[in-house]
């Protein structure tokens, strides 16, 4: 099929639409006065849900820190404090994302808007890798100063190695959960659930946009 035939076919399509496309003006008027569920609403609600859960968990930990204090519980206070700190980082990041979602301008160029949107979806991963750093602090909640003095072999051979393993795992995850690793098997297995599908799709789409842009950069 030649160029001219393609365009002739398109013109036939245009004529067909011209003849038979009916616009319901009454419904457009109705739409102008209604609050419609936006395509971005699911992304917004997901971030709002994470903020609410983060605030709840931070509140519970804050309350426990206030109620359970004393020299014997110093490890709990420090651990819970660190977990609260990481959660606050997550909450602030998600609030920032909500502001950015609100600022998305569909009348901007297609590549700019789509890149912005896909980055926002993929950014859930960036927050997640920071949140993984709080993992070891969950293992130190019940440590007491007495354990270090009188804990004996059991403490040093079972409890401490668990904390060290969690520390190593959290640092490894922090360093390796990156978009560049999204093709690796462990990454795909880890983020395989339906809740991660929008994020992994966003990553794939970012790559598609980048390929478009890379070609563009070469030509410039």
């Amino acid at each position: 099929m030649e160029d001219i035939e393609l365009k002739a076919l398109w013109q036939a399509y245009d004529q067909k639409l011209e003849r038979s496309l009916a616009l319901n003006l009454h419904l457009v008027k109705e739409l102008q006065t209604q609050k419609v569920r936006s395509a971005l609403r699911s992304l917004t609600w997901y971030k709002v849900l994470l903020i609410v859960l983060g605030l709840l968990w931070t509140g519970i930990l804050g309350w426990l820190m206030y109620r359970l204090s004393g020299p014997q519980l110093i490890s709990f206070t420090i651990s819970a404090g660190m977990v609260v700190l990481f959660n606050l980082v997550g909450i602030v990041s998600y609030i920032r994302h909500l502001v950015l979602i609100h600022r998305i301008d569909n009348s901007d160029s297609v590549l700019a808007t789509q890149k912005h949107l896909a980055e926002l979806q993929a950014s859930t991963l960036r927050v997640m890798r920071i949140l993984y750093l709080q993992m070891p602090f969950y293992t130190t909640f019940l440590y007491t100063p007495a354990m270090f003095v009188h804990g004996g072999l059991w403490f040093w051979l079972s409890t401490v190695p668990v904390t060290l393993a969690f520390t190593a795992a959290s640092i490894w995850l922090y360093r390796n959960i990156r978009l560049e690793n999204s093709h690796k098997k462990w990454f795909r297995r880890m983020f395989d659930g339906p809740e991660w599908r929008p994020v992994t799709r966003a990553i794939a789409f970012l790559e598609e946009i980048d390929a478009f842009e890379r070609e563009d950069a070469i030509k410039k």
Binding site: L9, R19, A22, N24, L25, L31, Q32, S38, Q114, F205
Partner: protein
């Protein structure tokens, strides 16, 4: 007539004039009639939201393509399995009433739609704009590419499309 009413009326006339753009873009990103109804609604709603900020220095069709393509690509990227019908309206805003054109043209049109639908979303946008006979400059502006790159890409996607046609 107050300003708001004048804006609303102007918007209605713009939609009536450019309804073909909305339908075409929606139909190339969404083949299911029920989902397309949602997509058309979302495009018109986003156009309405963006209308007060429309910069008259650009063509209306450029603005309309940007919004329609952005909304359609975002809609297309949503996980179909989790996608809910979000219509607040029970009927379709845009309806294609049955039209019996020449059977051969109808057949070719369906094939063209199918083949464009098989392209990745960004290439699809490029092809729609090319077939709409937009200038390279306008296509580049809508998509956010340079003109040179737009020309190269169009040539490549066009070849791909022609090849697919030959294979059918």
């Amino acid at each position: 007539m107050d300003f708001e009413q004048a804006t609303a009326d102007r918007f209605l006339s713009v939609i009536a004039e450019y309804k073909g753009i909305i339908y075409k873009v929606a139909s190339f990103y969404c083949r299911q009639a029920e989902d397309r109804k949602d997509l058309v609604q979302e495009i018109i709603y986003q156009l309405w939201r963006s209308f007060p900020q429309y910069n008259e220095q650009y063509k209306l069709s450029t603005w309309m393509y940007k919004v329609a393509l952005n909304v359609s690509i975002s809609f297309y990227r949503k996980d179909k399995r989790r996608q809910e019908h979000s219509s607040v309206l029970t009927d379709s805003i845009l309806d294609l009433v049955p039209d019996n054109g020449p059977p051969e043209t109808e057949q070719h049109l369906q094939l063209l739609q199918q083949l464009i639908n098989e392209l990745p979303p960004l290439e699809r946008a490029l092809m729609i704009l090319y077939l709409e006979e937009k200038s390279y400059r306008e296509i580049a502006e809508i998509l956010g590419l340079t003109e040179t790159n737009t020309a190269t890409k169009i040539s490549r996607v066009k070849d791909k499309l022609k090849q697919k046609f030959r294979n059918y």
